[in-house]
Each structure stands twice: as structure tokens, then as C-alpha cells.
């Protein structure tokens, strides 16, 4: 029996352009001369640095430990010498502390001890391992995985979901992981089931990846059900995916565990298996390099901390008319001002657009066409909110309900902005308003 996915309201159909790289097997990128490893590659407190300038480090060595429960460990991705510790530009656009390592080319490993017979081990030991391996959500949100594996006692989890939707156009990194390492994902699924004491596992994969669906069905067997999802953006958004696979709706401002669900990206589950079975921490991830601005689109296994410019050099370089560098996908990715930024755990794609693909940033007034309302996967009102924010009428949005429903629950998928015929920068308006509220709350204490 195959389960039908529950549809979500709204959504859009951008040009997916996945065929540029979906057939490209992931190739390992050689360790570059310089690695820039930020201390904050995850949601939560930045990790606390454990090394100092001049220290020799090995691949897989812990260089920063989690600073609190919601934080994640950071490891050296290769062996070499720490040459600097200080602020660098991060893919997020902000400055952040990073450890710079000059690699020695030997790539000498310092792995953790593999856990033998992990399915008989105490789940607590396994969670500790996941935490020690610095594993965070690889879908882009980079939420520390050990936190997800230990849901609060008052909201027990009975259903684990794997996100293989990969609804962002262009990106095929998760697709490749599912095709190339399905057995590793299946091992990870068994570990997660054991850790969380959950028997129900569903994997959601968009229908445009039939080879991944087949590979995952074969590898998982009885360990979990693979559900083919309709191809619609943002199918891979957490709340939309939960509804698609379980029929449960996560209320605004609530976490998935409030409806008994936890979601992991497929690549994250593979990383959990790597950490437990091989003792390898999260020091590498698959990155899709694609777009009309690159010479050879492809998928690469990139050491965490490798700079984009080194990756691009290995990947075949830019085309002449390369104009925009996007870290992530075209819908939610961030345009970087320079390629002198490191690939971090949350970066699944490097998209280079050519000059003629640059978006016209002129925008007009809202004509109330309602396209954004029909595109919003949360059935919210981007148009009204955008107008209020544009006019600076923050006080009007202060009404608790509107704020809760509209601002706090908007995950900035960009569907409204994608369809707006007046090209209004709605997502940017929302980010602006969110920043305003955050600063207000800070002021209030």
C-alpha cells in the first residue's frame, strides 16, 4: 500500500533546473590549502573554541565544544595548523568567529571510537555521540540534532519523518545522498528509531526523483515507508512536510514535537550513522554547484570550512558572465558579496547566476491581485502585511494575533515574492519587521 501525501495550500512551481546536476555523482573535493571553520554553523549558541593559534590539529579533531544544550560541536575537517582565530564573513552575511587552518595535505584522521553493536547500546550514549560529532540539520536550518533526538517529556514523539523532498530548485545534494548512500541512511534510520523508541518512520521524496524513491524503498525495507510527494515548492518545508506525511498540523509558533513528530533531513540521518558506526564527525557534506554561471555543474563532497572560491576552482570555475553567487537555492538561499566565504554545514548548494538572470529590483505598488495569498503555503496575507511594513505601520501589526499568525509563522519561503507582479520584496519586508520585533523584545528584556 502506498500512502497518498496530503496536499498543502498554496505553493508555486518555479523552474526546477535539477537536471543540470541530478545525474552528477558526488565527487570528493581535495582538501584545500586553507580551511575557514566558523564556530557558529548551527542554530543556537556559538561553540566554545578549544584550540589556539599555532596548534596542530587532525582531521575530525574537536576544535570547539558546544556552549549549552542548543549548540553544536565543531571539528577540524583536515589535518594542519591553526593560523588564525578571529572574525570572518560568514555565508549568512554576518561576521562570526572562525578557526582558520592551514592544511598539511596529509589528512591525518583522529576519529572517535566506533560504537559496536549500536542497536544494543544505551540510547543516551548514542545521543552523546551525535552531540560529540557536531551533527546539525543539513537541510539548511542547522538545528542541533541531539536536541531533536531528545524531545521534551511533555510532547513525546511517535513518528519520525525523513525529509528528502529537496524542493529548492537547482539543488540535488540530498538527491545524490539518497541515490548513493541509501544503505547508510537506512542504518541511520534504525539508529534514530532505537534512540527515540519510535517505530513509525516515513520518508517524503518529491516525485521528480524516482531513482531516489526506488533506492530508498529498497534500502529501508520494513524500517520505514517511502512516500512520493507532489512536486510543489515548498513541499520540503517542515510543517508542510509533516502535514503531507502524517496529516497532522503543527500550530503556529509550535515545534513539530507538539504533534508528536520529529523531522530529519536524509543527509543528517546518514551523518548520524557515520558518527555512530565509523566514529566520523560531521566534517564533510555534499554541495551542489550549479547554475548558468558555472562551467561544469556537479555535486561535490566538500570539507566543512572549504572556501567557495577553492570549491569553484576545483569544480571548473565561473563562466564569463557569472554575476551572482547564491549560497543555497534560488528561493531561500543568500546572495554572497564575495566567494571568500566558507562552505558551512548548512550550505547545500552554490548557485551562480549569469548577468541576464539578475532580478530587476524595481518594485511597484500592491494592486491587490491576490496572487501572493494563493501562493502562501501558510494561507497568510503577505500583501496586507507587506503594505503595513512598507509604510512603517509596525504599531498596527502589534495586534498579538496578527503578529503570531503572520510574522512568527512565516518561514520566508519566498513564494509570495516569486509570484508578485509588482515585484514587491515581501520577504525582505517580513525580515525587516521580524528584526524590529526582536529588537523591541530585547529592549523590553
Amino acid at each position: 500500500m502506498t500512502t497518498q501525501a496530503n496536499p498543502f495550500p498554496g505553493g508555486i512551481h518555479p523552474a526546477y533546473r535539477k537536471d543540470l546536476t541530478s545525474g552528477c555523482e558526488s565527487r570528493p573535493m581535495p582538501v584545500p590549502k586553507i580551511l575557514v571553520i566558523p564556530l557558529s554553523q548551527h542554530l543556537g549558541a556559538p561553540a566554545k573554541v578549544l584550540v589556539k593559534k599555532g596548534d596542530a590539529v587532525k582531521a575530525g579533531q574537536l576544535i570547539a565544544e558546544p556552549a549549552g544544550f542548543i549548540s553544536a560541536a565543531v571539528h577540524a575537517s583536515s589535518s594542519g595548523k591553526v593560523t588564525a582565530i578571529g572574525p570572518v564573513e560568514l555565508p549568512s552575511g554576518q561576521k562570526g568567529e572562525a578557526v582558520t587552518i592551514e592544511t598539511d595535505g596529509a589528512h591525518e584522521w583522529a576519529r572517535m571510537e566506533p560504537i559496536s553493536d549500536p542497536l544494543a547500546a544505551d540510547p543516551k550514549v548514542l545521543v552523546e555521540r551525535v552531540k560529540a560529532a557536531g551533527i546539525v540539520g543539513l537541510g539548511g536550518a542547522t538545528f542541533p540534532s541531539h536536541v531533536k533526538l531528545t524531545p521534551p517529556a511533555d510532547s513525546p514523539v511517535d513518528w519520525v519523518l525523513l525529509n528528502g523532498a529537496e524542493c529548492e530548485p537547482y539543488l540535488t545534494a540530498d538527491h545524490r545522498v539518497m541515490v548513493e548512500r541509501p544503505d547508510r541512511i537506512a542504518q541511520g534510520v534504525k539508529l534514530v528509531r532505537h534512540i527515540m523508541g519510535v517505530s513509525k518512520v516515513s520518508v517524503g521524496i518529491e516525485g521528480n526523483k524516482p531513482d531516489a524513491i526506488e533506492a530508498m524503498r529498497k534500502a529501508l525495507g520494513d524500517a520505514g515507508e517511502v512516500v512520493e510527494l507532489p512536486v510543489k515548492y515548498p513541499q520540503g518545508s517542515e510543517k508542510q512536510l509533516i502535514h503531507a506525511l502524517t496529516g497532522r498540523r503543527v500550530p503556529p509558533k509550535k515545534l513539530p514535537s507538539s504533534v508528536g513528530v520529529t523531522v530529519f533531513n536524509v543527509a543528517t540521518v546518514a551523518a548520524i550513522a557515520d558518527a555512530v558506526i565509523d566514529g566520523t564527525p560531521l566534517v564533510e557534506r555534499v554541495v551542489t554547484v550549479t547554475g548558468s554561471g558555472v562551467n561544469q555543474p556537479g555535486n561535490f563532497r566538500v570539507p566543512v570550512g572549504a572556501r567557495v572560491l577553492d570549491l569553484m576552482e576545483f569544480a571548473g570555475g565561473y563562466r564569463e558572465d557569472a554575476a551572482q553567487l547564491i549560497l543555497g537555492g534560488p528561493m531561500m538561499g543568500r546572495a554572497a558579496a564575495t566567494d571568500d566565504v566558507p562552505v558551512v554545514k548548512g550550505v547545500g548548494g552554490v548557485l551562480v547566476l549569469s548577468a541576464d538572470e539578475l532580478k530587476n529590483l524595481d518594485y511597484g505598488v500592491c494592486v491587490r491581485c491576490g496572487r501572493c495569498l494563493r501562493a502562501c503555503p501558510n494561507t497568510q496575507n503577505p500583501m496586507l502585511l507587506g503594505q503595513l511594513i512598507e509604510k512603517g505601520l509596525f504599531s498596527r501589526i502589534d495586534e498579538e494575533k496578527l503578529r503570531e499568525l503572520v510574522l512568527d509563522d512565516c518561514f520566508e519561503c519566498g513564494s509570495c515574492t516569486f509570484v508578485c507582479p509588482s515585484r514587491r520584496p515581501l520577504v525582505q519586508f517580513f525580515q525587516m519587521a521580524k528584526g524590529y520585533y526582536r529588537s523591541q523584545q530585547k529592549r523590553k528584556g
Binding site: 495550500p9 504533534v259 572560491l309 577553492d310 551572482q324 546572495a335 566567494d339 511597484g364 494592486v367 509588482s422
Partner: protein, 348 residues
């Protein structure tokens, strides 16, 4: 490799290519069949009214933008042209140039720019202007030239006709029904209402076929949704049917009500105006029902033979209210449809 700089912008970095300009001109294009039928039926006089109205609206918008120190080139965004075109389509062929100038002024300046221009006008500018002209110049606005295709106008509906200096005029089918009730019916051919080449009326309202072609295009291109026109037409049909059943001698049948007058141009092209119509599906349906209801109340029992213009303007006034009270439940806010553990309801 040396570090390189790149252009930055905000996400999303792709767009579906739609534009307000293209939408406006698409609606404009969807009205061309109706305009073509009008020119065939009424001759170059219809063309004069439509062209003058369109050009004047665009020009006045440009001047208004200039005065307000905005970009005057924005007058070419299609919205002023569409307003002018729609206004022209709601007027009788043969209307004098002076009245068209007044109409364009009321549409673009009074009904639109005074309220803040594109996107801010509470009432449909073309209809506001049409209703203003109807009240200010009642005689001129109800002097309907008879389409040239008719040889013997006296035979047409068996009604008295008046000869003006240069054109021959007659009553519209709705006016004939208003005045003579069902006695006028035998003279009204559904065929004529459908093809429009023999029916007196506003320039753009005469051919149901041409309007339906345009409407199909707009629906196909998803420029308009079905909610407003379907709700409007269904309400008119139901009310027309009920009154006809109650008193067939007095009230015309629903098919006549659907095809006569400005119902199609109103329901598909005026009531669907983005700026002045509600945005949520439920609000659109209530709005459409209201338009149908008010149209029929005016047609059947009011002082005017046709009520669609008034009906749309009245419902325009209800739009902010409808927008406020028809907001659908945001995704996830509903109580979970399958209960999860830890919540009342038990196992899923």
C-alpha cells in the same frame, strides 16, 4: 583563484516573470473582441468614444503624476489605459466629446489619483465615472444609437424610436422590458443578445459572445478567478428564475437577464478589478452574490433599467469589510485533523 565580488540582492532570486503591466494589458486585450463587435455594430463613432476615453485617461494620469512629482511614465503601466477603455465601453456610441472629457477626468483624477493612485482607489474608477455621467447627463447617457445592421428600426421590438440629428436611437432591451414588461419579449431575440450586432446598448456590453471570449482568456491565464463572476451570474440567474416563475407575465426569464445589459462586462471585467474587489475566496463569493442581488433589485424594482454599475460600486464599499471578515484559517491553526499523542483525542 582570487576572491571575486558578486551582485547581491534579496531572496528569492528568481521570479515567475509576471508583471502588473502585462496583467493590465492582458485585460485590455481581452476586451478587444467586444470593442471589435462594437465598431462593426456602431461604426467609427464607437471607435471614437473608446479611443478618446482611453487617450484622455492616460494623458490625465500622466499630468496628475507630473503634478505630484511622480514618474509620469507610469501612466503607461496599462492601468489608466484600461480604465479609459472600460469607461469607453460603458458609454453609448455617439456621446459627445465634451462629456467624454468630463468622464475621463472623473475616472482618473477624482476616482483614482485623489485617493492615492494605482492600488489605493476604493471604487472602480471607470464605473464611478460612468455613474457620475449617468446622473449628470441622464439624457445623453441613455441615448442609444441603434446598430447599423438594422434596416427597419421600427420593427425592432415594436417600440417607438426617436430620431436625433444624425443618429437613430432606441431603447436597450432592459429598458424595453422595464417599460413594457413581457410585451417586449417576443421582439427580443436571444441570438441578438448573444452576438450583439443588432442590440442597442453601451458600446462594450452588446455582444455576450465577445465578452465571454475575453473572459475565457482571463480565466485561462489565471488573471481573474471564477469566484466573483460565477457568484454574480448565479445570483442573477436564481433571482431571475424565481421572479419569472412567480409572475411570468411581469418578469423576464433568467436567460434574458443573464445576456441582457452590462452583466457580462460587469461581472467579468469590472467586478473582478483587483484593487476594488475582495481578495479571499469567501469574500469574493459574498461580493459576487451581493452584486447579483443588487443588480436584480435595481433591474426588477428600481428606477433604472440596469443596475450592474450601481451594484458593483455599492459592493466596492463592502470590500474592506469582506477582506477583514473572510480571512481563511492559516495553515496549522486549525485543530489537528488527526489527533497526536499528548493531545486530547488519543492515537492517530
Amino acid at each position: 583563484m582570487e576572491p571575486r565580488s558578486f551582485t547581491v540582492s534579496y531572496a528569492p532570486h528568481v521570479h515567475d516573470g509576471s508583471s502588473t503591466r502585462r496583467i493590465m494589458w492582458s485585460v485590455f486585450g481581452a476586451l478587444v473582441p467586444a470593442a471589435a463587435v462594437a465598431v462593426y455594430a456602431f461604426g467609427l463613432d464607437a471607435l471614437r468614444v473608446m479611443l478618446l476615453s482611453t487617450i484622455l485617461c492616460v494623458a490625465m494620469e500622466g499630468v496628475a503624476l507630473l503634478i505630484m512629482r511622480r514618474d509620469p511614465a507610469a501612466c503607461l503601466d496599462g492601468s489608466a489605459a484600461l480604465t479609459g477603455f472600460l469607461l469607453g465601453l460603458t458609454l453609448p456610441a455617439g456621446l459627445s466629446n465634451g462629456i467624454i472629457v468630463v468622464g475621463a477626468f472623473v475616472a482618473v483624477i477624482v476616482a483614482k489619483q485623489v485617493f492615492g493612485g494605482l492600488g489605493h482607489n476604493p471604487f472602480n474608477p471607470a464605473l464611478t465615472s460612468r455613474v457620475f455621467l449617468l446622473i449628470a447627463f441622464p439624457k445623453q447617457l441613455t441615448t442609444w444609437p441603434v446598430p447599423r445592421g438594422l434596416e427597419d428600426i421600427k420593427e425592432y421590438m415594436g417600440l417607438a424610436v426617436t430620431r436625433t440629428t444624425d443618429a437613430v436611437t432606441s431603447a436597450t432591451p432592459l429598458a424595453a422590458i422595464k417599460e413594457h414588461a413581457q410585451r417586449a419579449m417576443p421582439n427580443i431575440q436571444l441570438n441578438d443578445l448573444f452576438f450583439g450586432v443588432h442590440t442597442p446598448g453601451s458600446i462594450g456590453e452588446i455582444s455576450a459572445l465577445a465578452l465571454l471570449l475575453g473572459a475565457a482568456f482571463l480565466l485561462y491565464r489565471r488573471i481573474i478567478t471564477w469566484h466573483v463572476p460565477v457568484a454574480t451570474l448565479a445570483t442573477v440567474a436564481v433571482l431571475g428564475g424565481l421572479t419569472h416563475l412567480a409572475n411570468p407575465a411581469k418578469y423576464a426569464d433568467p436567460v434574458f437577464h443573464l445576456f441582457a445589459g452590462g452583466l457580462f462586462i460587469g461581472a467579468f471585467f469590472m467586478a473582478t478589478d483587483y484593487v476594488t474587489a475582495p481578495v479571499w475566496p469567501l469574500g469574493k463569493i459574498i461580493y459576487g452574490v451581493g452584486i447579483g442581488l443588487l443588480t436584480m433589485v435595481i433591474r426588477l424594482w428600481g428606477g433604472y433599467p440596469e443596475g450592474i454599475s450601481f451594484a458593483i460600486l455599492l459592493m466596492n464599499a463592502a470590500t474592506p469589510l469582506l477582506d477583514r471578515y473572510t480571512v481563511p484559517t492559516p495553515f496549522g491553526s486549525r485543530k489537528p485533523d488527526k489527533a497526536a499523542p499528548g493531545q486530547a483525542g488519543g492515537e492517530s
